[in-house]
Symmetry: C2
Subunit: 339 residues, 2 copies
């Protein structure tokens, strides 16, 4: 490798965190850029997606994908530009997404990289509404939730990357959308900009009482991003044959004690309701279908989106924590370098 090759700053997992991750749970090092082998591409990372699921990937134990190994580059989805290609499928300058990790440069097989179509939205949106969170919202709501016109859909983490899309697709499907979010600013955003029928401020309101007010006929679909007491509140108010889409449990990810199980789960029995888990990776073969629909809705002005951009890969640990404090507003993205 030529000595003039730029250096690659990386966050590598150093320890399995207890509770909220700390900077010391990663080592921040500089490594040589790995030249691409046959069939590989070298990507200059432009944006890193910060997602709640990353907290799960740091946890040892069985899950839907293996955990990040100690010493490995912290796993993260990203968006970047191909700077060298050893694959006929990509050329220098192509804008691509993939699991690039928290680093400046990623070297990986071309088959693990996806081209970003030019144009309909700014690049960071391809990590949010037009990326994994959008695909999650689309299939989670439509395939697991199966909304029927006139039903009431409740979503938690409603101002987050997934939740905001869930509520807007619920509206497009002819449902009432009730969002639960933290703080008056997010709640105003939901009702005034995104068209939610109602928003509940979990910091300022009794969530259970507010749900009773906004869902007088019960909850037909609850799209759960948070777990914990809000899951219990929603379970208590399920309508007959309700569906609970389990997408995440952000309130529990940093728990150092046992997970809080939903005490009101027997409401599933009483109401002949269904609670079902959703992992977006199962739907990646159908991603184009979701992205076509969402793209069209963006063009038509029926889906709006918002990204919350933090500068500098070196700020990764602190930026990541904004997900759990609720400080982020919109899809949280780390900008690594100028486009």
């Amino acid at each position: 490798m030529p000595t003039r090759e730029p250096q690659n700053r990386q966050f590598r997992l150093a320890a399995r965190p207890q509770g909220l991750p700390r900077r010391s749970d990663w080592s921040f090092i500089t490594a040589p850029v790995q030249p691409p082998g046959a069939g590989e591409v070298l990507v200059r990372v432009l944006y890193i997606s910060l997602d709640p699921a990353m907290r799960g990937w740091m946890h040892e134990g069985k899950s839907y994908i293996p955990p990040v190994q100690i010493g490995a580059v912290m796993r993260a989805l990203g968006l970047g530009r191909v700077v060298r290609s050893q694959s006929p499928d990509f050329r220098e300058g192509d804008i691509v997404t993939g699991a690039f990790g928290v680093q400046d440069y990623a070297t990986l097989p071309a088959r693990e990289v996806h081209a970003v179509p030019p144009g309909i939205a700014p690049l960071p949106a391809f990590l949010g509404v037009l990326g994994m969170p959008g695909i999650t919202a689309y299939f989670g709501l439509l395939e697991i939730g199966r909304p029927v016109k006139g039903e009431t859909v409740v979503v938690s983490g409603a101002a987050g990357a997934v939740g905001a899309v869930v509520g807007q697709i619920a509206r497009i499907a002819g449902c009432r959308a009730v969002g639960i979010a933290g703080g008056p600013e997010k709640c105003r955003y939901l009702t005034e900009e995104l068209g939610f029928d109602a928003a509940i401020d979990r910091h300022a309101e009794d969530v259970r009482a507010a749900l009773e007010r906004h869902c007088p006929d019960g909850i037909n679909i609850y799209f759960d991003n948070v777990g914990g007491p809000i899951l219990d509140d929603c379970l208590a108010l399920l309508a007959l044959h309700a569906r609970v889409v389990l997408c995440g449990a952000i309130s529990q990810y940093n728990s150092t004690g046992p997970i809080k199980g939903p005490s009101n789960y027997i409401s599933l029995l009483i109401n002949r309701a269904r609670m079902e888990g959703m992992v977006v990776f199962d739907y990646m073969h159908r991603a184009p279908e979701a992205l076509r629909a969402i793209g069209q809705w963006i063009v038509e002005g029926r889906i709006k989106h918002r990204e919350d951009i933090v500068e500098g890969v070196e700020n990764f640990p602190e930026a990541f924590l904004r997900l759990f404090s609720g400080e982020n507003f919109g899809k949280l993205v780390l900008r690594v370098t100028a486009e």
Copy 2:
């Protein structure tokens, strides 16, 4: 009403129990027999079905049917003989089932009464394998669980009225059946008489470890009659795309504290699994389909059944508690009078 009319002994709900019901939660009184009006029948109750669900019916609050009111005859399914009919649909001597309550005589509309076909099994079986528990097992397993040949089905309360049928239908569907029950006698019954592939004695074994041993590829269907720690053990071992059929939660019915929610519910997410509630009343319009199939399997010797008969309506409170202590062995039935 003629004064020579026999008297009707009744248990009426006197108080909403805290924890395990006590005799003082009912009043045991003698009332006149109510003559049938137009369209009604008078039934001499022969057998009363004792079911865990009855504990739920004593509880105030929203459920799938309204609670038994204070002062009302305790609700129970039963089997009896028509002794007077004001309906063209029934004649004196007909053997019928219905929600007769815990009493000697029931007077009710003919449309709420179902004729029992003559012959393939002793009468108490029509409150068990050929009654509500059998129908529950049939639709719960086949419609909610949707077994696929070669899968592993775990059922708790496996020696109970519902569980025993679930395991046997699972075998008929080509699945491995693993039962969880209390005590060596019940476990032997499951494997030696009912053909379960394995039985776990929850009193003598570490249920989680035994499940790991008997379900090396995970649990495809868990049919839950008990809730509590066993639900958590099963959730922890779900296979991909598993189904959890919520049929009951007998371990929690007498809880005076908060219900124990399943801490391992996030396994539903990780494994893209589904947990769904089942109430047999939703399937009553299809009861003949279930009873035809189960009747045929009984005739062919592929489904066996067992009833646990306690004598005397006056012993109702103590007999009912056998469900919660696990003392009953087979479908628990109270015999009111000789056939």
